[in-house]
Symmetry: C2
DNA sequence: TTAAAACCTACCATTTAGGTTGGTTTTAGT
DNA sequence: ACTAAAACCAACCTAAATGGTAGGTTTTAA
């Protein structure tokens, strides 16, 4: 299982916010109820999205969250990379530099690299607005 | 990280056996040394490959393992599916039937399904002999 | 008879996943 | 000023998966 609940839930929250785009701030309580996810767990997942300016939070009564941009500006790949760390199929990819000492002679490395590219390309080719339809 | 050491090591063993194809039975001790993997750990990974007739083991002195078929008959996808369980990106795929109650309305399901197909297709398009070169 | 090999089972430490608990702070509305 | 609703925050917890190790038994060629 490549994608954990963290990434999947984050994506569902983003879709929910996209569906409510233009209606101001949406309280997480409502999103949690609609998506049937624990509010408390969602609160643990959201900070990475706000800190990276994907969504904006407004505190206090009448507050909530909203998308920072229009739904067509969010690539699924970006959302998943943020919440999952990276989309690398194996450990030796992901970080900037491959520190594996076998890297030079590894027969499988090119295969993993190509799959890594494929994965990023696939998820970067889908934007939030594609999923709302 | 999608692929664990189990799948990666199994693949490296298969490649090693492919490189020694035609030379009779190869003791795991040698493979472990060449691949720099603990022999004991390898012994824990191999049974699934022998039970599924991908490789054949011969006990006793002078024994070892060898590929059952020629290296071009092994799809990487088959090796990974055996050792990793399945290559599903999310939990709701993988099993025969999708038991998730959200399946009917899930906005992300088609995206995961397509990626799942993509993944299987990619790894099924590579055979052991491609990696030996 | 011996050495080398596969084969087998139980255990174990660490990390990750998937949360829960119990708050504090901010703010709109009354 | 007070209250309710919201974001925001930190500590804790349980179960499962990961990545092994330890200590054998069985088989077989030389």
């Amino acid at each position: 299982m490549m994608i954990s609940t963290k990434g999947r839930y984050a994506l569902r929250v983003m879709i929910d916010l996209a569906q409510n785009y233009g209606n101001g701030y949406v309280p997480m309580k409502e999103v949690a109820k609609r998506q049937n996810i624990s509010l408390k767990y969602l609160e643990r997942i959201l900070p990475v999205l706000t800190k990276n300016k994907l969504i904006e939070g407004l505190q206090g009564k009448g507050g909530g969250y909203r998308l920072t941009y229009t739904p067509d500006r969010y690539r699924v790949g970006d959302i998943l990379r943020l919440t999952e760390g990276d989309l690398a199929p194996v450990a030796c990819l992901g970080c900037e530099e491959n520190t594996c000492e076998r890297a030079g002679t590894c027969k499988t490395l090119p295969m993993w690299e190509e799959f890594y590219r494929l994965t990023n390309t696939y998820f970067d080719g889908i934007v939030l607005s594609d999923l709302v339809k």
